[in-house]
Amino acid sequence: MTKSNSVVIIGGGHNGLICATYLAKAGHQVQLLEARDKVGGGASTSSFADGYSTSGLAHILYGLNAKVCKDLKLNIGDSASIQPVDTISLQLDGDHVTLGRDDVSAKSLSSKDLEAYRAFKKEFRGYAKALQPLMMNTPPRLKDMDKKDKLTLAKLGWSLRFGLGTDSMREFLRVGGINIYDVLNEVFDSPALKGAISVDAILGQHMGPRTPNTVLTYLQRLWGETQASQSIPIGGMGKVSAMLERAAVDAGVAIRTGVKVAKIIVENGRSQGVILQSGERVEANIVVSNADAKTTFIDLVGAPQLDAMFCHRVNSVRQHGDVAKLHFALTELPTFSGLSLQQLSQRLIIAPDMRYVEHAFNHSKYGEFSDNPVLEMTIPSVGDSSLAPAGHHVMSVSATFAPYHLKEGWQQQSRDTFVQRVTEVIERYAPEFSSSVTATELLTPVDIEDQYNITGGHWHHGELSIDQSFMMRPVHGSAQYQTPIDGLYLCGASAHPGGGITGVPGHNAAQRILAMGDI
């Protein structure tokens, strides 16, 4: 039997597309297999009601990697493709807090807080930058290091010690493992400001502001700011995927959609290709999985081909999503008290203070959704009329906490109640909101799992916690994009450095595969 393709990529999420493109550019024959009817995965634009569409899962771009954009010649920086946005944290008294890259503004903020914000962002962006050598490289092994591992560690050490300087490094080591709650209390006075910043540390995670590790998650989010400004893609996140798809096709990647991989063929410890659900066998020298680790190892490779403890570790990855996605079709633009039309196009969040966020998280610990969920809202149709009928609008909301394992299960009644809760929270700020809603779509983490083929419906294919990061991502025994199966690699958010529309795992995986030289 001949090997018709040298590389098969399982899953056409943005990382799969990016990895495929790099490998194709390097001269390899790459075939990409996507189970859904279009590529993009979580970076998609989907129609949820007749005439209304919006970003299907991810709706804010905050760190598509600059090197990836350059290498793949993605023309994504101009105003025709993205709209840069600030974050506006809504307050009941109408004194909304606007958080920019360097500056924050609100009437109630003291001059001390205004200055502290600037200093805080500079300092923490510095920490995020110091992690750059770790982010853009294969995470170094700590045992049996090769030259590259040592170099990466040396670069990291250099960038922490000399990039940051003595004082900053000491501070970085102090705050690195603690929680954002304590750090923000040290730095700021305004509860509103602290609440707003804490959202970036917990959104997408099963963590509250008081959870240790939330400084690290905040830094990972902030790292995006070192790459590109926070923005909303015109035409929805699917536009980004369309550009990546074009780059892949131009590079010679053969893309097949609507084909679900059923099994990864393993013979004598080496992957030989895949078997599709149709029974078709696709042979390849190299198999790269954009799917999460659980799907890749437990479902596609199968426990009988792997060591028992390795399977146990993969199965134990904490990967239960906690964010629901809601899409509202609106007959008119909602009126938020104190927000101008221009401001409506920004990233709006509801997290009035850190106690609110922590209390929202408390419910999720016990398998309940939040009484008062934390919301991240965008109304992309303000700057993009293609998403809704003329004069109408769409609102895209990420609502946390909505646990994957809801105690009573995501029955219709729970779903209705949750939508009701979210609507009520929005109406505190936009009193007439519900009267303009003509259609609603709710994607719970269970729906996200089903529709996007992500185990647990977790944004990041696994919590971005220290024990699931770097050389331990997704689990030790499969770091460095390699797996226990020779010729099988991971290129998705399961791998270092994790999720978000960054393209970094895809980029790093491709570099690793090329460096391994076994194509």
């Binding site: 393993v266 410890g269 437990i298 199968g302 009988p304 028992a308 403890m309 399977c311 146990h312 199965n315």
Partner: protein
């Protein structure tokens, strides 16, 4: 699904060690009250004298309570492929009513425990192990449609070992014991009680294990000892002391005594692979993937670093815990793990952990032995020899049918 059958677990908090279903008879016969814990059971180390118990195994017939041995029932559609992924040996060829000796490893190819797999009937297996393995079995069961039940307390078992063991069981009323080949399982009756008889043991001698419902335990015991009362054969209950002597003679290793199991080893070099235990013959790379295969494949290509060997030690001084050297006063190369003065062979035999030199056994091995004479310590050197074969495996242990007595 996990179920645990605890029919014999006592509810009395003052009963620290739990009784075996044979306890009533064991208590009567254990004259020296030398008790120890075996997997939480009150177990006799010695019943009357060690020598008489030892010679019961080698010359007549011994009876030992096997109930405390960890036992797991493995059933379900994937029972066979689950076990084959667990152990290093290919058990897909293990036919119903047959038994095989196995070891299993962790991901790093280090031995977790050893034991036996009984293929009770098509697709129905019992795994017996030295140590508690339920958590590892459950971890290993991810991705397999298999049912694992701990049945340690649900099965009463006796080991009947020694040259006259077949004759004793026959005289006790079990038919067709003589037809069982080594590692066979037979379903029989004893005075109307259903018993399972397997030709298995840990002694290197002719012997059987009899398995029954705990409710019938005393009846089985009594039926066997009735043969002694009839004056036909000498039959003695034996404790773990005598068992330890005969198993060292037979070269059977004891996880936890002869090597640290991978689960209990703390220091990086204290766990052992099958190669390091001299059990390479149990590792089969031709079968489907099993836990530790990748690590063992890599290790198999490297020179041997150390190995557990059977070592005879000159002289009559006990080499207990002795250090081993590559010459008298030379470099230290290992230690004695288990040793015994073999009454039947009239020599010191042992199992020893020995470091290899450039992948080879050292040319000479010497033990430095410390011993006492009337409370005064002395030291001496004894030359050691590695034995390729077990010191004692009697031809009668594999003869079918066994000789009649």
């Amino acid at each position: 699904m996990l179920t645990q059958t605890d029919s014999h677990v006592t509810t009395d908090f003052r009963e620290v060690l739990q009784p075996s279903p044979f306890q009533a008879r064991i208590n009567e016969q254990c004259l020296v009250q030398d008790w120890m814990s075996w997997n939480g059971y009150k177990t006799a180390r010695v019943f009357d004298t060690l020598a008489s118990e030892y010679f019961a195994v080698r010359s007549t017939c011994s009876v030992m309570d096997l109930t405390p041995m960890e036992k797991y029932r493995i059933t379900g559609p994937d029972a066979q492929i689950f076990l084959n992924r667990l152990v290093t040996r290919d058990i897909s060829t293990l036919k119903p009513q047959r038994v095989t000796y196995v070891i299993w490893c962790n991901d790093e190819g280090k031995v977790l425990d050893d034991g036996t797999i009984f293929h009770l009937s098509e697709g129905d297996y019992r795994l017996c192990s030295q140590h508690h393995q339920l958590d590892w079995l459950l971890i290993s069961s991810l991705g397999f449609d298999v049912n694992i039940e701990q049945e340690t307390h649900a099965i009463a078992a006796l080991a009947i070992q020694g040259p006259t063991s077949c004759a004793v069981l026959t005289a006790a009323g079990i038919d067709g014991v003589d037809q069982l080949r080594p590692f066979d399982i037979g379903y029989r009756t004893l005075n109307g009680i259903d018993v399972m008889v397997s030709r298995t043991g840990f002694t290197g001698d002719l012997g059987y294990e009899v398995w029954a419902d705990p409710d019938h335990a005393l009846a089985v015991w009594d039926a066997i000892f009735l043969v002694k009362e009839q004056g036909l054969f000498d039959i003695r209950p034996i404790g773990l002391g005598a068992l330890d002597m005969v198993r060292i003679e037979a070269g059977f290793i004891m996880p936890g005594d002869d090597f640290n199991t991978a689960e209990t080893a703390v220091r990086a070099d204290r766990d052992r692979s099958p190669y390091e235990l001299g059990l390479a013959w149990l590792v089969n790379f031709k079968k489907p993937y099993f836990t530790g295969k990748k690590a063992l494949l890599a290790e198999s290509k490297k020179p041997t670093v150390r190995r557990l060997v059977r070592l005879s030690v000159e002289g009559n001084k006990s080499p207990t815990d002795a250090f081993l050297y590559d010459a008298k006063g030379g470099s230290r190369i290992g230690t004695i793990k288990s040793c015994v003065w073999s009454p039947i062979l009239k020599m010191n035999v042992s199992l020893a952990d020995v470091e290899f030199v450039k992948g080879k056994l050292p040319e000479q091995i010497w033990a430095e032995i410390y011993y006492q004479k009337e409370l005064e310590w002395r030291a001496t050197w004894a030359k050691c020899d590695v034995s390729a074969k077990p010191f004692w495996i009697h031809p009668r242990s594999s003869l079918t049918p066994p000789n009649r007595f």
